[in-house]
Structures are given as structure tokens and as C-alpha cells.
Symmetry: C2
Subunit: 285 residues, 2 copies
């Protein structure tokens, strides 16, 4: 495990944005190879439900990838679901990510994310206001959320039920005058009830990474043009932009030969243009 | 077929809101059992894609039902997809609906909707600025859209691709200072690209009929409390609020007995709490 360091609020290296919140932590414990200066770089929080849907997972991963590629530090809480995908997406892009814990930085919580924590520490940081050894406890998570929002110029909520923890993070961000953004979702999905409610309250809708970059004032990186696709793959991709489908449904509704279809799906997968979950294909944003 | 009447713009019975637009039609031809006074009642336009998804269909149907039940006239264009569902939902609620055509009111266009046109005429109206006998033509549809928006206090766009005809209707509504609302959808769906773009431009997000009623200043009707469900049905409904699933997937992920599951799904269907399409179950709003 990386050595653990700490930084006091009075320390000149203490992150400015976090120091500016109503109730900044007196000390921040850091684990990872980066130093505290990382916490002063332009950052965005990606937060949301633990029990998220395949839609939420897919959107988080690709937003995190694009935001990290544009040079933003991606901050989240290392929880299951949206948080985990946010860290993974940033790492995939070779970017930097920060996990803020509701326990000591030496406790990999949840346990299933201990490998993820190690990867975050390679170039980024795992941070907490609690001393090493402090156990996770439910009442520490809302407090932790103020640090996530406090470190960031903007907080993006990707999927959240009503009265979800992610909405607490959004509230903290609002109170501190930071930007709050939300990803629209189907109004028949309880996992989008919280995000759609945020939109009704005036949060900025996010449809792609550029919408976030605009708000935080960071230039998007020039996209390398997407690899050109074969005709069949192009047709399947168009169909998947309309609806999430299994390979069978896709091949049937597009009326193409199943073996051609299988090859084209492989092509789309390799090009990162689709994601698969529970046997269903979804177009990537 | 009902007798066809007409009303001139100078006529005192000409609908006020429509008369107030920049370019009102000189004459409106009416087919149906209602008289022109119907066009002066508080109305809302529900518009969207012809090739819509099961999500769009389901949301349109239930919004139209609830808005009509609250006493609003539901206006749309009688096209396939969203338009058709808007009229059907209003009729289902025993409400009143108006179809505005881009051809003469004696041409049932599209032909597949001639039965729907007859049902609309039973209590509502099919209207057009074109004389009976005029054929549908592509350039007449944008012009028709200004009448849809012009008759209504608010226009709700439910599903629309980028550069869709429904966005033209929304533009007309905006130009005339009417309210524009949009239903959020998944940012990975091209069918929600237009609606999510409207949200970014400041359209009011719609998550339920009450959101629309609030904007047009009409009181929601008192909901009769939803029939109470059995334990299994309640559990399945909760699961379906998270994700659209087939009966098999549902029974498997909820770990319940398949025959119990089938009975509970029937119960949900009869209570109007789920809709089914292509074998997939979706929770109703």
C-alpha cells in the first residue's frame, strides 16, 4: 500500500476550492502516488446510485473517459455502481481520478473495490477526512459527500432515485455555488427520478462530455475521428441508437444474415461503439 | 362521415389563441360532432416522432389520458407514433381530442388512422386550413404544425430526433410565447436527442401530467388511489420501475415461482400498472 500522508487546512497546499466551503475538513489524509497539488487541478464530481442500471453504467463510463481525456480530474466516492464506473472510465482514458472515502484511506471500502483503489493510487489519490483505521459508517457518507462536491467545480449526477445520497452531494454543490448538472433519463425509471427532479429544479442537462466541459470552462480535446464502419455495422449502430436490443432482435429487425450480424457486432464492440450487458447491445454516446 | 363546416378568421367564434398567432389561417375547416367553441377550451399539444420507441408510446398514452381526464383538450397531428398515441390516450380517458391535418379533413391521413379519425370525431374535431379534397403533401406539414402550436397554451414534445418536425412545432410555440415542455429520455437514444436538446435550451422537463397542468394553470383531478396490489405484484412492479424486462428475466431476477409471476403480471396488466411491447414489461408512470 502507498504511504499515507496528510495535509492540514492551514497548509498553503490545502486545495483552495475545498478550503472555501462552509465546513472544510481540518485535515485531509491522502493515499496514492500523486501529491496534494493534484487536488488543486480542475475537477468534476461524477456521482449516482449504487444499484444503477446498464444505462447509468454505460453513460458514466464514457463521460468519465471523455472528461479525464480532456484533462479534468474525475472525483467520486468509490462506491459500487456509478462511483466505480466513474473511476474506471477515468483510468481507461489514462486520466487521473480521486476517490473520497467515508472511512480511513487504508480501508478499502467496499472490499470488492480494493483492486480499483490500488489502480486509483497509481496516478491519483484516495482521500478522507478520517484518520487511517476509522471504519466506514452510514453517518459518515453524507459528510464525505460535502468533500466530493467541495473539491469540484461541478457535480454531475448520473442516475439517482428520489432521496438518494447523490442528491445530497448535489445539494452541497448548490449551497457552495458550484455547478450542478444531471443526466436526463426515462421518466418511467425510478433510477432517473432524482436526476429528472434535479432538471426540474434547474440543473443543467448533460447529453455529452462537451456539455460538462462548457460549464467548467475547459476546452474539449480534438476528437480523433471515429474509425469508419462497414455498411452492416453502420446499419446496426443506427438501429441501436433507437433501441437497446439483443443480437437476435437486432439481426431480425434489420433483416440481415446472422453470421454477418455477428461479425458486424464484433466490429462495433472493438471500435467501442456499443456496450453489452445482460446480452443487450446499447449504442455508446 | 360527419358534416364538414368551416369558420373564418373574422368570425367571433374563431379560436382566440389561434387568431393571435403571427400568421393565422384565414379559414379553418372542421369535421366532427363538436362545434368550433371546443377550440377555445384550454388545450395542450402532444407531439413527437412517427417512428417512436415503446418508451415514447407508453409515456404519450398515459400523459394524454391524465391531461384529458383533467379537462384539457389534447391536440396533435394524427400521424403514426406519438401523435396517434396522444389521440388514443385522450379517448381512453373519455376526454376530448383535436387532430390538425396537413390535408383536407375528409382525407384520412394516414389511411391506417381512418378508424381513429372517426373516433376523434365522435366527441372532438378533425381540423385543417386546407379545403376538403386537398391531398397531403410534405410542405404542408410544417404549416400544419403552426396551427397545432397556435391552438394550445403549451406544447409537449415527447420523443424527437434532431431536426424533427416536432421541433418545428416547438419553435412555433416558442415564437408565439407559448410554453414548451419536453420529456427527458436516455442520452444514448437518438429518439431523445431532440427532446434533451430542448431541455438544454430551457424547455420545462415533464416527468408526469401534473408538471404540464402546473404550466397551463389547470388543477389536477383527484387521483382515485391505485388499486392495492398483491405482494408479488408489488415486488415485480418495483423491479420494473428500475428496468424494462421480459417475463423470464423478471421472474429470474426476482427469484419467484414462474406461475406466481405470471399471475402477478396479469394483475399488474389489469390494473394498468404495466405496459407490454415486444414481450417486454415496462412500469407505467
Amino acid at each position: 500500500m502507498n504511504a499515507i500522508s496528510s495535509i492540514r487546512r492551514r497548509d498553503p497546499a490545502f486545495p483552495l476550492l475545498l478550503g472555501a466551503i462552509h465546513d472544510p475538513p481540518p485535515t485531509l489524509f491522502l493515499r496514492g502516488s500523486a501529491d496534494a497539488a493534484l487536488l488543486g487541478r480542475p475537477a468534476v464530481a461524477l456521482v449516482g446510485a449504487r444499484a444503477c442500471s446498464s444505462y447509468g453504467r454505460s453513460v458514466t463510463r464514457s463521460l468519465a473517459r471523455d472528461l479525464a481525456a480532456a484533462g479534468l480530474v474525475v472525483v467520486s466516492g468509490m462506491a459500487r455502481g456509478i462511483d466505480g464506473e466513474a473511476h474506471r472510465g477515468a483510468l481507461e482514458a489514462g486520466g487521473v481520478t480521486v476517490a473520497v472515502l467515508g472511512c480511513g484511506v487504508d480501508r478499502d471500502y467496499p472490499a470488492a473495490h480494493s483492486e480499483l483503489a490500488r489502480r486509483i493510487c497509481d496516478f491519483g489519490l484516495v482521500v478522507s477526512e478520517y484518520e487511517p483505521g476509522v471504519e466506514p459508517a452510514p453517518w459518515r457518507f453524507p459528510a464525505r459527500n460535502r468533500i466530493i462536491a467541495g473539491l469540484c467545480r461541478a457535480t454531475v449526477v448520473i442516475e439517482a432515485r428520489e432521496r438518494s445520497g447523490a442528491l445530497i452531494t448535489a445539494d452541497f454543490a448548490l449551497e457552495e455555488g458550484r455547478e450542478v448538472l444531471a443526466v436526463p433519463g426515462e421518466i418511467t425509471s425510478s433510477l432517473s427520478a432524482g436526476t429528472n427532479a434535479l432538471l426540474r429544479l434547474g440543473a443543467t442537462p448533460v447529453t455529452c462530455a462537451t456539455d460538462v466541459l462548457e460549464v467548467v470552462g475547459v476546452e474539449p480535446v480534438k476528437q480523433t475521428p471515429a474509425a469508419s464502419l462497414g455498411l452492416v455495422a453502420e446499419a446496426l449502430y443506427e438501429r441501436l441508437s433507437d433501441e437497446v436490443l439483443t443480437a437476435d432482435e437486432l439481426v431480425r429487425t434489420c433483416a440481415i444474415d446472422p453470421s454477418q450480424g455477428a461479425a458486424a457486432l464484433m466490429e462495433l464492440e472493438l471500435a467501442g461503439r456499443v456496450t453489452i450487458e445482460d446480452g443487450r447491445y446499447r449504442a455508446s454516446i
